[in-house]
């Protein structure tokens, strides 16, 4: 086991990679009562086209299959329900599918060893039948509809379709009510066999537990599983330019909304630093202490405002989502901000201070440690132990030179207007 300190955070993690490729990350935290276990695969809705292990031909699976598979993982041949097992010790269990990953989790305060064993066991034993696959379609359809009834969500999905031309990021992680109808048990087994093998998976444990015990349990339960290799995912080539410049949708809303997507191409290999610099830039431009926010606030324009940066291969997309009494004015103000030449030194230094303080806070909370660790393992291939140093060493000069490389006209705009009745 390799022990590494998180720089400046009074915390360390242990890492080991088994011969079959399974990665193990353990972050014991003194002072905590609860623990959190995640067993995860690097398989999410981003993968729709792939060449199965040992085959030459590309297959295309229906949209939403990773999420569907996640639901069906809870079906066991014995008829036992994993939720029931965990509940017996008052442990919470759940699963989440993202664009780039699927994880199965349990969290609680008791029965650590048995719960860890069981989590590994149930995710390693798929059981799909025509009957149980069909039964799930009703539940998932209700889940998709639930999200689809949220106007902000519909706006985001339309914006994604405008930003991306072919990337799976333009489709809901769960697929659509129509696409999931096509999913068969054979599809599920195909995906399971190709992406749920140790070389493509990892276990992350955070909180109150014994490192040696955790390691022994994981080895005993997963060491003998063969690594059959991972299927070759076929990368969907995405355009540098946005797909659609402008669109308007109508909805039964009273306050109008606007979504702005800024698509940035950047092929720097260091995606972590690229993301950090872009995030710094957008925090200075649109964060709570930005002059933009000050302006639109005084103009009484803002109802709600959110922004977020997403990375897909060499594409970084800034999403701005806002509801306002005057969305055209907001758009003008955002466009003004897009003419930025450089960031002020005092803003840059203050945000650095904020980021470091936020790391110190986050590495004191089991759930925040899980979130950060999980994201880093999935996106950057490993834990990031020196983020505090990285923040400290960020240079204003580099940030300002990066601004020049961004094409601020490469945007998609979606307006959500009130439906005339």
């Amino acid at each position: 086991m390799n022990k590494t300190e998180f720089v400046g955070l009074d915390l360390a993690y242990y890492k080991e990679v088994l011969d079959n490729g399974l990665e193990i990350y353990l972050v014991p935290m003194e002072n905590k009562k609860n623990y959190y276990i995640s067993y995860a695969t690097r398989f999410g809705s981003d993968i729709t086209n792939f060449i199965p292990v040992g085959k030459d031909e590309e297959v295309i699976v229906p949209d939403g299959i990773a999420h569907f598979l996640e639901h069906k993982m809870f079906e066991q041949e014995s008829g036992e329900d994993p939720f029931t097992f965990f509940s017996a010790s008052g442990t919470d269990s759940n699963a989440m599918t993202d664009f780039d990953s699927t994880q199965y989790i349990c969290s609680g305060t008791k029965n650590f060893k048995e719960n860890l064993e069981y989590l590994l066991k149930f995710v390693n034993s798929p059981y799909y039948t025509n009957e149980n696959v069909n039964k799930e379609k009703g539940i998932i359809a209700e889940e998709l509809k639930m999200y689809n009834d949220i106007p902000d969500y519909r706006l985001e999905m339309r914006l994604r379709e405008c930003v991306y031309k072919s990337s799976p990021r333009r489709v809901d992680i769960g697929g659509s009510v129509t696409s999931i109808q096509d999913i068969t048990k054979e599809d599920l087994y195909l995906c399971y066999e190709n992406f749920y093998n140790p070389g493509n998976m990892f276990v992350l444990v955070v909180g109150n537990f014994d490192v040696d015990e955790a390691l022994t349990v994981i080895k005993d339960n997963t060491e003998l599983i063969d690594n059959n290799g991972r299927a070759k995912a076929v990368d969907v080539k995405e355009n540098k330019k946005v797909n659609i410049l402008e669109d308007t949708i109508e909805s039964d809303i009273n306050v109008e909304k606007i979504g702005i997507g800024l698509k940035i191409f950047n092929d720097d290999k260091d995606k972590l630093m690229t993301s950090m610099y872009l995030n710094m830039l957008f925090t200075c431009m649109f964060g709570s202490t930005s002059l933009f926010r000050d302006r639109v606030d005084k103009l009484n324009l803002l109802q709600s405002f959110e922004y977020d940066l997403e990375n897909y291969n060499n594409i970084y997309t800034l999403y701005i989502m806002c509801s306002s009494t005057d969305i055209n004015e907001i758009l003008k103000e955002v466009r003004k901000e897009f003419k930025i030449k450089k960031v002020k030194e005092e803003d840059f230094n203050r945000i650095k201070k904020v980021w470091i303080a936020n790391e110190v806070k986050a590495y004191d909370d089991v759930y925040d440690v899980v979130d950060r660790s999980f994201r880093d393992i999935i996106r950057y291939g490993d834990m990031v132990s020196d983020r505090v140093d990285k923040i400290r060493n960020m240079s204003l000069k580099k940030l300002n030179s990066m601004i020049k490389t961004i094409d601020f006209n490469n945007t998609s705009i979606v307006m959500m207007k009130r439906k005339e009745k």
Binding site: G90, I150, V255, Q303, R350, A357
Partner: protein
């Protein structure tokens, strides 16, 4: 964890000394008996105090100040418990150990300025800021329907009993908004500061200096006494079920059911009722989740919640409207099954485990420590140790007795009449 309670005359100070967290959390909790026509102005006020203050004239100045205090956060929140309306100011600041000497004191001073040094001249708040807040509140009142789950709950309360505080809209009312002006607002502020009951909670690794700081900065003047009980009077159950419906342009429909709880003993309310709820609809092992969602695929979300202040249980779910009748029948069957004792010893044990895990986790986050402290005071709950001991004793018969006192009264359907895609 050491607990210190100090009667400071005009307010009560509760300090939980613990080295479990790197942050110090401070909550200033205001409360008074809820009056329908005061809800809107109270909301306006709580927003106004975070718009500007005597020494921080713009929102941006406030935002910069909290960033300089090492990413301190400050939120406000207005909510109702039984007969009372509460407004919290919650601050989280890193311990001086991780920042610099005097940072905590400075943060406490800042929090006190937000409360005691509003941006007021000649007993009037600022006109421009009031405009901003009014627009925000009126927009959020106009967009209530966008959050269908919450909206269906509000509408079900209004259907159930339109006179009781249970039906009051916590966001306020449009018709009350117009008449609020800068001097009326100041009058309410004056009454808020001088007549609300106040508690201050502190959680963190603090010395007695923090008590000094709080006494120094928080100069509340008046002593107040409470006369009205926290809990609402029990509701009578109608002899015929009440049904309400409203149509909405969504694809999913929401059901919200209200079941008044009859008179329970102290023991039943504290210990049997939570166990009943876990078994019936409070977790993924519950009867509702198992039978309505898993067995019949009728919905994605379904659960029940118990409110001890209001003496009711609510059942909430999202469905396709064609399944409405079937869903109601199943829910009524499950209510009846509980009364007939159709649950196992295992169900009972699982519920107890959940209860225990929940207790374990109560002390794991500053917010739950504060919340538990507050609610324990209001409802005179037992100590955690006493709770642990008592919960073990709950029997199947106890649960059946409680089940017989929970009766379905009102069913509200927010009927989705939009299209699917």
């Amino acid at each position: 964890m050491e607990y210190i309670e100090k009667d400071c005359g005009a307010f009560k100070l509760h300090v939980y000394k613990t080295n479990k967290f790197r942050t110090v959390n401070i909550s200033v909790v205001f409360r008074r008996v809820i009056k329908k026509d005061e809800i809107t102005i109270r909301n306006v006020l709580s927003h106004m105090l975070l718009q500007s203050s005597k020494n921080y004239k713009e929102k941006r100045d406030l935002a910069i100040k909290v960033q300089e205090l090492y990413a301190t956060t400050l939120y406000n929140n207005t909510y109702r418990l039984g007969n009372y309306i509460f407004t919290n100011y919650d601050m989280e600041v890193l311990n001086d150990k991780y920042t610099e000497e005097g940072n905590l004191d400075e943060a406490i001073k800042y929090l006190s300025e937000i409360i005691f040094k509003p941006d007021v001249t000649n007993k009037k708040f600022r006109e421009d800021k009031l405009d901003i807040v009014k627009t925000k509140i009126s927009n959020s009142l106009n967009t209530l329907k966008e959050n269908a789950p919450m909206y269906s709950v509000i509408r079900s309360f209004e259907t159930f009993n339109s006179n009781s505080p249970i039906s009051y809209r916590l966001g306020g009312y449009l018709e009350d908004l117009d008449s609020i002006d800068t001097s009326k607002l100041y009058k309410y502020y004056d009454s808020f500061i001088n007549h609300d009951l106040i508690d201050i909670y502190v959680v963190g690794d603090v010395s007695n200096d923090v008590i000094k700081s709080i006494k120094k900065y928080f100069k509340f003047r008046t002593v107040k006494r409470r006369r009205i009980p926290y809990k609402l009077d029990r509701f009578r159950v109608r002899s015929r079920k009440l049904k309400g419906t409203e149509r909405i342009d969504n694809s999913q429909s929401r059901i919200s059911i209200i079941c008044p709880i009859g008179k329970l003993s102290d023991y039943e309310e504290k210990y049997v009722l939570p166990i009943y709820n876990y078994i019936f609809g409070g977790c993924t092992e519950s009867k509702l989740f198992r039978n309505v969602r898993e067995k019949n695929s009728l919905c994605y979300s379904i659960n029940s919640v118990v409110n001890k202040f209001d003496n009711i249980m609510m059942i909430l779910c999202g469905i396709d409207k064609i399944n409405y009748d079937k869903c109601i029948t199943l829910i009524e069957e499950e209510l009846q099954n509980m009364r007939w004792g159709k649950f196992t010893k295992k169900d009972l044990d699982i519920a107890k485990e959940y209860y225990q895990t929940n207790l374990d986790e109560l002390m794991e986050s500053p917010n739950t420590i504060i919340n538990n402290g507050l609610v324990s005071d209001l409802l005179r709950l037992d100590s955690l140790d006493k709770r642990r001991e008592s919960i073990v004793k709950v029997t199947k018969n106890d649960v059946i007795k409680v089940a017989k006192k929970i009766k379905l009264d009102t069913i509200f359907l927010l009927e989705g009449v939009g299209t699917d895609e």
